[in-house]
Amino acid sequence: MGKWGSLRMSLFLLSALPFLGALLVGAVARFGKNAVALVTCACTAIALVAVLGHLPAVTAGQVIVAQMAWLPSAGLNANFMLDGLGFLFALLILGIGLLIINYARFYLSKDDPFARFMVFLLLFQGAMLGIVLSDNILLLLVFWELTSLTSFLLIGYWAHDAQARQGARMALAVTGAGGLALFAGLLILGQIAGSFDLSVILTKADVIQSSPMYVPALVLIALGAFAKSAQLPFHFWLPHAMAAPTPVSAYLHSATMVKAGLFLLARLWPVLAGTDAWFYIVATTGLLTMVYAAKVALFKDDLKAILAFSTISHLGLITFLLGLGTREGLVVAVFHIIAHASFKAPLFMVAGIVDHGAHTRDITALGGLRRAMPISFALALIAAASMAGVPPLNGFLSKEMALEEAAHTVWAGAAWAVPLMATLGAMFSVAYAFRFVGGVFLGPEKLALKDVHEAGFGLWLPPAILVALVALIGLAPMTSAGWLVELAASAAMGQAAEVKIYHWHGLSSPALWMSIAAFGGGALLLGLYPKLRALWNGAPRGDGKRAFEAGLGALIWAARASVLRLHDGALSRNMAIGFVSILGVCALAIWGQGLAHATRMATPLSFAALALGAVLLVVLALAVLRHGQRMLALLYVGVVGLIISIGFAYLSAPDLAITQITVEVVTVILMLLALNILPKTTPRENGFFQRWGAAAIAGAVGLATGALAYVLMLRDAGFPAISAFHLAQSKPGAGGTNAVNTIIVDFRGYDTYGEIIVLGIAALIIAAAAQGLLTAPAVRARLAAIFPMAGRAGDPHPMMLAVATRFLLPIGMLIGVYLYLRGHNLPGGGFVAGLVFAIAFLLQFIASGYGPSAARQRITYHSLIGAGVLIASATGIGSWVVGRPFLTSNYAYVRLWPLETFEVATAALFDLGVFLCVLGAVMMAIASLARLGQAGGTHGQKAAPQPKGGA
């Protein structure tokens, strides 16, 4: 146990290593390129050694696991495992990674931010490693998406290049989309299996394949794998990802990223493969991709494009092999994964070397480089030969085995289809492989390429090592790679795999003849290339990228035309949508529900009430219909408010009556202050909506509201109202006879606490906004322009009012004090008192002007607000001292000569806070608006006279 325990730890560490390395690279970035390369290499090498260290155990058939709960309730666990399949991929990822890092060290120029590249590369490496080490499919998904994200960064590394940016986004979009499909697929898979741990899932093939959700899961998972592995029709992102630096291409698109899809198919092979659905979906896609991409590769001129399509084609081949669902197919697939990685990576690196030396990757501009770049030529020749399937190289071995499998495959009853397609694919493969080598290195030397020299040691050594491997595996397959294939394939299929790799399968083998046909056909294709090329150039063809761009463009256009267009800040439309949707949900709510019947008698209607109602309705109609004349509309609205407050008085709500009327006046005056600056009229809207649409919506909302009110008024509540308690406790409990006031300052004093704060905040906002406006030069200029003095009456402060106010201000205060003191028992209270004080001061402002009044002011308004809030808070907190909750009131009847018996209630103190806050807030609001007017007025004297009315 102890021995395995230490190894278990190392799986966590192993998967974390690249990420730690990325951090370390960031830390050493400032020490230069070599330090960065050293750290990156060291990390990768340590990881590689760690993987290799598990070889004995893995070979012994053990699965190394490391488990940690992450979010077990959702099945998401940080469970890692290392078996043969994972071992193979880890080896590829880290081994080829090590070579790529060294290659990149010499490939990237001084101007490229090297450390950033290496950080991205390590992050990517970590993500890849995570995929192949995951024992939990949700964890696998985490790493899966991380490869999409990190490859986005790698592809977009040369961000100044628009192609790179576009390619990166496209890769992210396509592989990300696949990842999301995979997300759904894996969730279904996990739900069928009852676990998201692979070790459990892999034992449940029967349950999974018999589930009705098997096909959806399969389709979704396959979509994810296909998108990642660039299978038709998602292949188009890969060629465009070639805008990345070559080391990226070499790494992502030959050995790692695109193989993730294959890994997934292999990983889930035991539970997903073996059904018709699997075969027809996976094998068909692979086969079509193989042939199609091989054909396209033949006609590409960019070296990396050729290799990209070649990659797609080979991925198609492997997908096809996996799709067969046979053990033999799986073995060959595993073998070809190794072979492809070993020859494709060097080919990419050579393409990079050529690009470096010749400054072009256009095969038509290249030629005859065999003398200038002999090493590269040799490397390319061997690797390409392997790709073409030339014996005895490893590509030949795997291709023969693949063709063998294809030959035995019957597709929907047609025995010829698959072999034919496979042969076609091999044929194209032969042709493009030799075109690649021939086009670059053979033929006459192009004049422009005179000064090309072989690359340095650092650039050719990494591909050379891989090419050596190509040859080695080719010559001694069973010794060099057979064990690895067996290891991986056994792990993938969950039982011992039989691996036999031969150079010679005998004459009876159909693969031999197919292979010969492929070579012959390939030679023919190359011979006919100019004619074929002309045909190709003339043929119309779908362009995945263009389709993608067009689709995305259309989507963006649609988004802008719909969503963005609707969010253009058209308040009236948004409000209309709001009202209509409110009506809609209300209709939905009451649709088909019976209407409650009346349980109360109607209250009789008096003549005076009817007259008041008539006044209200007519004036309201005038206000709405003539709202264009703003001052008039304001006057009418004021009258409506007046009638409402007398209505409150009539309907046994004296507190409401006095509050409504005082608030009303302050509101009207604030609006008049604003109207002084705003345009005086509203232009008549001719739009159909603003008139009839608005009227229809308004009418419907009004009708609904009125009807609801009517129903509620004539029906009793289902339960006795809680206010019975308030009435009963008003005097004995809260010490006041005015139940409304005791509710406000006591039973629900906390509401009032919030309410005065609302008012205080309103004043702060107004003051802050006014201050901001007054400091904006454009605003001051506009204020000056809309304040012409001509046309105004003289005498801003008529003597009569000024004199009268000397009495009215104190009288107002007197009334305020009166209302404050009696509020607890009779209508009144701190709120109304504050408003009455404010109105009295307001009258003073109107009579004598703001300037002189402000000069006499001793207390700032904001301190009134602050003091009000503090007093209210302190009153509430005061009850803590006696161990009672916030706002617990206390009152006592105090006998204090000569004031007779009077009541001292903490609620009165609370009400004082209300009073101060209200007074401060209203005054602050009025003063702020007045200051705006003043600013305009002082400018206006200098401004040229204009007709009255401003805008």
């Binding site: 959702a74 800040g569 209407l595 629900r748 802050a768 906004a769």
Partner: protein, 500 residues
């Protein structure tokens, strides 16, 4: 002995704000008070989290019994929201102080404190009308913060924001009046007791008040089609303020969860699945609108706004199931998306300050501290989109599993929304950081380490949310169980027995 820690998160910021207003002329005092307030709230939030884990705690204001006085109840859900508010406030405040946003207009700090007071009050109250009052407190404070600093665009956007929210407030009052008229009570727990006993002919009125309330919460939560105000006002608001506002949409979600489990549970015969059905539709459309908005947005700030709409779509879609796992997942996702949106808004501010704007169509100059910012942006975008390894992904794993009963539609919409959002963010990131106009000179900008520390803190929170998903989800699962069985919430208030 009363549990004053329950109400302290309301009183502390209010009293501090009062002091700040009283000493408005001293900027040093304002900043000191703000720091004290934020730290105090964080401490209180942590304490309240531990208290709430032990069970709901009532607080009877004025020492009046429920349902006659106003009662606050601290339970797991409210404690969670308090903690979210406090944490976010601390981070935003640090950012504001580091970047000097508070000096661009008057009264920033008192408004900020009042904003926190309003939010905390709304999360704590167990009284429907008091909820309205605190909605108004937090809204009006938000109006002030939104137009902080002034300017043409901000004021007009502010006007629209206010107008639309006033519509919401009005509907709130209509709904509360209807509820009081039919039931005679305002206490939410009392309503939970009484509504099931109402005569069947009152069903229409109960349903009506239920949908009216839902409309109110939908306005706050920016549910389609009541979301129009959000992208514009959040874009126009000072970005750190918008970062704080990220929690306000969650207030809508909070209220939906609270009322949807307590007052209008699916077991209430009158309303049944009414809320669930509406939320289901609104969530689906919301995800689509959010995703398309992200894809089509021409500037970064509104793009983030659309991302919020989309994430709220995910939240309400999940809530609409009204099962314990769904509520737990929705809460997790709500917390996550608050953090993600806040991070993005703070980043938007750093970007705008360095790039001179957030127009995505126009190539900008190379930014000072661009490498760091782009890395942070990537992390924040990954989180917001819901890609691994940050909390968005962990949230989506839970959300999708919670919705597996409705998988074909819900999963498709959520995943397609994720895809489109991802493409939108990729385009935005590549436009902001990759498409650089080298002809423009690089504007110098101070590094502002504390501002970056604030952003780091948010990302660290999302990392922690992801890493410690199990304990968080476990805590939320208990929270969701409590919500689905609200008897404890009702019982602690010792309501008088109800007879119809």
């Amino acid at each position: 002995m009363s549990a004053h820690f329950v109400i302290a998160p309301v009183i502390l910021p209010a009293a501090l704000a009062g002091l700040m207003v009283l000493f408005a002329r001293s900027p040093a005092f304002q900043r000191l008070g703000a720091v004290l307030g934020a730290s105090g709230l964080i401490a209180l939030a942590l304490y309240n989290l531990t208290q709430a884990s032990l069970g709901p705690t009532p607080y009877f204001l004025g020492n009046w019994p429920a349902p006659f006085g106003i009662v606050l109840v601290l339970d797991r859900l409210s404690a969670l929201m308090l903690a979210l508010v406090a944490g976010l406030a601390g981070v935003v405040l640090a950012y504001v102080l580091a970047t000097g946003w508070d000096r661009r207009g008057a009264y920033f700090h008192p408004l900020f404190m009042f904003q926190l007071m309003g939010l905390n009050g709304a999360f704590l109250t167990a009284d429907a009308f008091n909820l309205f009052v605190f909605f108004e407190v937090l809204l009006i404070a938000s109006y002030g913060l939104m137009v902080h600093g002034g300017g043409a665009e901000r004021l007009r956007a502010g006007l629209q924001y206010v107008a639309f929210n006033l519509l919401g407030s009005t509907v709130f009052l209509f709904a509360l009046a209807t509820i009081y008229a039919i039931s005679g009570t305002l206490n939410m727990a009392d309503l939970a007791q009484k509504l099931p006993l109402m005569p069947p002919e009152d069903a229409a009125l109960i349903r009506l008040s239920a949908v009216l309330l839902l409309v109110v919460f939908a306005v706050k939560g920016a549910l389609v089609p009541l979301q129009f105000w959000l992208p514009r006002s959040y874009a126009a608001a000072p970005a750190p303020v918008a970062a704080l506002f990220a929690v306000m949409t969650k207030l809508g979600a909070y209220a939906m969860i609270r009322f949807g489990t307590l007052v209008f549970p699916t077991t209430l015969a009158a309303t049944g699945a009414l809320w669930g059905n509406i939320l289901w539709a609104a969530g689906l459309v919301g995800i689509a609108v959010g995703a398309f908005g992200v894809l089509g947005a021409a500037r970064l700030a509104p793009l983030i706004g659309f991302a919020i709409i989309g994430s709220m779509g995910v939240v309400v879609l999940t809530v609409s199931a009204f099962t314990a796992p769904a509520l737990a997942a929705a809460l997790y996702y709500a917390v996550h998306s608050t953090l993600a949106a806040a991070t993005l808004f703070l980043l938007a501010d750093t970007i705008i300050a360095r790039r001179g704007g957030d127009d995505l169509a126009q190539a900008g100059p190379k930014m000072a501290q661009g490498g760091l910012i782009s890395g942070l942006f990537m992390a924040a975008a990954v989180a917001m989109v819901g890609l691994p390894p940050l909390s968005g992904f962990v949230g989506k794993v839970q959300v999708l599993q919670a919705l597996s009963a409705h998988a074909p539609v819900a999963w498709s919409v959520i995943l397609l929304g994720t895809l489109v959002t991802m493409i939108g963010f990729a385009r935005a990131g590549s436009a902001l950081f990759w498409r650089v106009d080298t002809a423009l000179s690089v504007p110098k900008h101070p590094a502002q380490p504390i501002a970056f520390a604030a952003i780091f803190a948010l990302i660290a929170a999302m990392v922690a949310l992801s890493l410690f998903a199990a304990p968080v989800a476990g805590w939320l699962a208990v929270t969701a169980d409590d919500l689905m069985a609200p008897q404890a919430y009702i019982n602690v208030q010792s309501l008088p027995a109800v007879a119809p």
